[in-house]
Symmetry: C2
Subunit: 320 residues, 2 copies
Amino acid sequence: MSKKLTMPEVAALFEGAKDIVIVSHINPDGDALGSTLALAAGLRKKGKNVVISIDDEISSYYNFMPGIDQFVRFKQGDVINADLLVINDASSLDRIGVAAECVKAPMLNIDHHVSNTGFADYLYLDVDAAATGEVIFRLFKELNIEIDLQMAFCLYVAIVTDCGYFKYSNTTPHCMNCAAELLAIGVEPDVVSDFLEMKSRDDIKLLSKVLETLAFEFNGRIATIEISHENYNPDIATDSFIHYPRYIDGVEVAMMFKGVEKDVTRVSMRSRRLDVSKIALSFGGGGHKRASGCTIYKDMAEAKKIMLASIVDEMGNCNG
Amino acid sequence: MSKKLTMPEVAALFEGAKDIVIVSHINPDGDALGSTLALAAGLRKKGKNVVISIDDEISSYYNFMPGIDQFVRFKQGDVINADLLVINDASSLDRIGVAAECVKAPMLNIDHHVSNTGFADYLYLDVDAAATGEVIFRLFKELNIEIDLQMAFCLYVAIVTDCGYFKYSNTTPHCMNCAAELLAIGVEPDVVSDFLEMKSRDDIKLLSKVLETLAFEFNGRIATIEISHENYNPDIATDSFIHYPRYIDGVEVAMMFKGVEKDVTRVSMRSRRLDVSKIALSFGGGGHKRASGCTIYKDMAEAKKIMLASIVDEMGNCNG
């Protein structure tokens, strides 16, 4: 298990390091990207040499984020010497790809996922934070790093992504006050939302197709949508599609099945009460109690059957 | 023109009144309803007799709001004597229906719309407030009224409605800090969003149909959607539909046309830069620079022609 650190101890670890590598999780979202970009920018202000890496494609949807082209991708066999390897916003080692093998440095994991497996040497875990971006915001205060507009922008994206634009239960007064401070620095809320909400005509076409797949199971308590492999396009951001089944009257668990390859199905789950992170974790995924995901190495029909059985089983056990 | 009051003067007016009528605007939204319900509850805590009224149907979508069944509807010829008539969240007299004729009392208008016409005896106008709910929040502080959970819930609904869940440019640090305080009182963000986002299967069916009407004008700078009179159902909340055309790449003005009657078309407009409140106002409507609406007493095809001409004209003048 990891040694759990306090915020001052985390700050001391950063103060003592010169060459720092920060990696975040595969299938990166706004929190992974935003909190990593902000942390890198902040540490550079303190004179640190920082490399940032994600072992996955980054959707062009995130091209608007300042510094997004700084992400590098390590190859198997690379050897990178550093003073500190920061694993940012990732709850388990398999979520970061090859970086753990390539980077020769003590591992500090900064995270907010309740499903964190305690894999790193050092861990700062705040499960009450809505986003890792919120943790980085506090770290900057601890390290006396002034948050400039670009950093504020990245942190704001991180926070709004992971609290579902202040709609999820993880939205706390602290989370909102952080966001308010970032706005006071100069972040324009409509500019951020214009980027995050922006869709192409193709996105809306895909949404129409996906809404047609809406189906109900277990007396309407489970709703599913599908993005078939034929319709799948990695350049179309589909994360928000799950809101449609999630917010239908009577639905307790919403699931989206995405055929990323013929025999690889990515599953997203949203729930009102059920702890879906347990189910995601049992299939090698991760996330939060009410918003989790995993990847099933089966075609969509098979993946759907497996996941539905799991959810129905869990709902039966919990009586909803 | 109205006599403009300071917040302490507004508070003094309330302190001096015993029988108070509060009315808000027709086609009521979450801010109209939430800020009115909260204000009524707060004033009752101070021993005031309060009647609340809206001269319109209230969508069943808002049934979740505590106290929603308290709204009464006056009839032409009714005579209601009161010490104070509060016109809440309405920018012009024609937005409140018959109340102005029925209620015999000095008029205090509390509002945040830039299009306010200064029609009342007294006016408290804060155009920097994202919502009238934010103004009422401050009024409670001035009047030393403790905000209980139900009031906080109503104010939270008011605020999130009018700042587009913190996505519009009117979202300020102050607005967010208010929301944070309301959460600290006990408002559960996910419970509010579950209510506000909740849709029926029919809603999603209607959304599918409406997305099929998506059309582009003026080189893709204007996007429109339509809810035909045949598809129109007052029990389906369609306010959010306008987000689809609004957030398409390249679109500067989004319009939704709703055939509420065969020859009555309700128009909603959202823009990125253009001041659409001017256009709405010129057709007897109201709203904010980037989010306005009006009603055209024509069928949909005719209403669309008229509004498009207006927008194109205005965009031409402003060069976008």
